[in-house]
């Protein structure tokens, strides 16, 4: 049994070999499948996990999903060192090598166009968090002397919270404009759920920026400077990523 084919990415041929100790999805080191001058990066994966039915239930298993996502990312990361990969969405699976070749041929023009657009670019992730509780929430903790006091305190606290969100929104808009001016392209992801991320505070901006490698240092410095501008909000930078958020055709 040779198994199914899991495809991580499509790239142009590259000279440098991938690091030898790289283990891919399902522990199978990635192989290169070249067709018409395009390279699909592929692992052989077992049917018991990756055939349509088991795959659907596996994806609902958080441990399995985590391991698979990290293995996928490990291969994309290694590719990013030697080339500019076009990452595919998680769990793109084909029956055999010939299925992969057919796909490469059918999408050849798209792939070449997107690879040209992304060549030499990386993605940076920037998130902005606002504290869930406004700074002056402490006043609300004072014991109200009367019902009227209570209502007044409550109004103040609600207003402080609204102000806080408004300032967060304004800061996020300004930050996004500043960073977009240096980036070639930007995408807004939905704000992350705090339960999922485990991060403190409310995520008000979850953005991805496409930046040429040559301007990455400038971009990172710009993010660092905005971090220093505010003590009310937290700015988080992730990356450099392969250009996942920009791999689809432009909307």
């Amino acid at each position: 049994m040779t198994g199914l084919r899991y495809v991580y990415a499509v790239c142009r041929p590259f000279g440098t070999p991938l690091q030898a100790e790289l283990t891919g999805v399902a522990g199978d080191p990635p192989r290169l499948l070249t067709h018409h001058g395009l390279v699909a990066v592929v692992s052989h994966v077992p049917e018991r996990d990756f055939a349509e039915e088991p795959l659907r239930s596996r994806l609902e298993d958080l441990d399995w999903l985590t391991a698979t996502a990290r293995a996928h990312q490990g291969v994309i990361d290694a590719l990013t060192v030697v080339t500019t990969p076009l990452p595919l969405r998680l769990a793109t699976v084909f029956r055999d090598d010939s299925g992969v070749r057919t796909m490469l041929q059918a999408r050849e023009a798209d792939f070449r166009r997107t690879l040209d657009r992304l060549e030499g670019r990386v993605e940076w992730g920037v998130k902005l968090y606002a504290d869930e509780r406004p700074a002056d929430a402490g006043t609300a903790a004072d014991k109200p002397a009367s019902g009227r006091d209570y209502l007044r305190q409550r109004r103040t606290s609600v207003r402080a919270r609204e102000d806080q969100w408004q300032r967060a929104e304004e800061f996020a808009t300004r930050l996004h404009e500043t960073l977009s001016a240096v980036a070639e392209d930007a995408r807004l992801h939905p704000p992350q759920n705090a339960t999922l991320s485990g991060a403190a505070g409310r995520n008000v901006l979850n953005a991805a920026y496409l930046v040429p490698r040559s301007r990455s240092e400038e971009f990172v410095e710009l993010v660092d400077r905005t971090k220093d501008e505010t003590t009310d909000f937290r700015v988080e930078l992730t990356g450099p990523w392969a250009a996942y958020s920009f791999a689809g055709e432009k909307p």
């Binding site: 609902e60 990312q73 796909m103």
Partner: protein, 62 residues
């Protein structure tokens, strides 16, 4: 820059990209796009149920 690169990537940042980004290709086995979207939606419920099942490591101390 090295600090950012070395820190382990948060799963949620990874899934933002792997489940919502990347080129979408209809492969031989590839799930329908709707299935992958469902995975994203289910994650919320999934993680909260995982949290309920796993007792807090500090639970016994209190």
């Amino acid at each position: 820059m090295t600090v950012v690169e070395r820190r382990e990537i948060a799963l949620v940042d990874l899934l933002d990209r792997l489940l919502a980004g990347g080129v979408v290709i209809t492969g031989d086995i590839t799930l329908r796009i709707a299935d992958v979207d469902l995975v994203r939606i289910d994650l919320n419920a999934l993680i909260s149920s995982v949290n309920e099942q796993v007792p807090s490591p500090w639970g016994e101390l209190t």
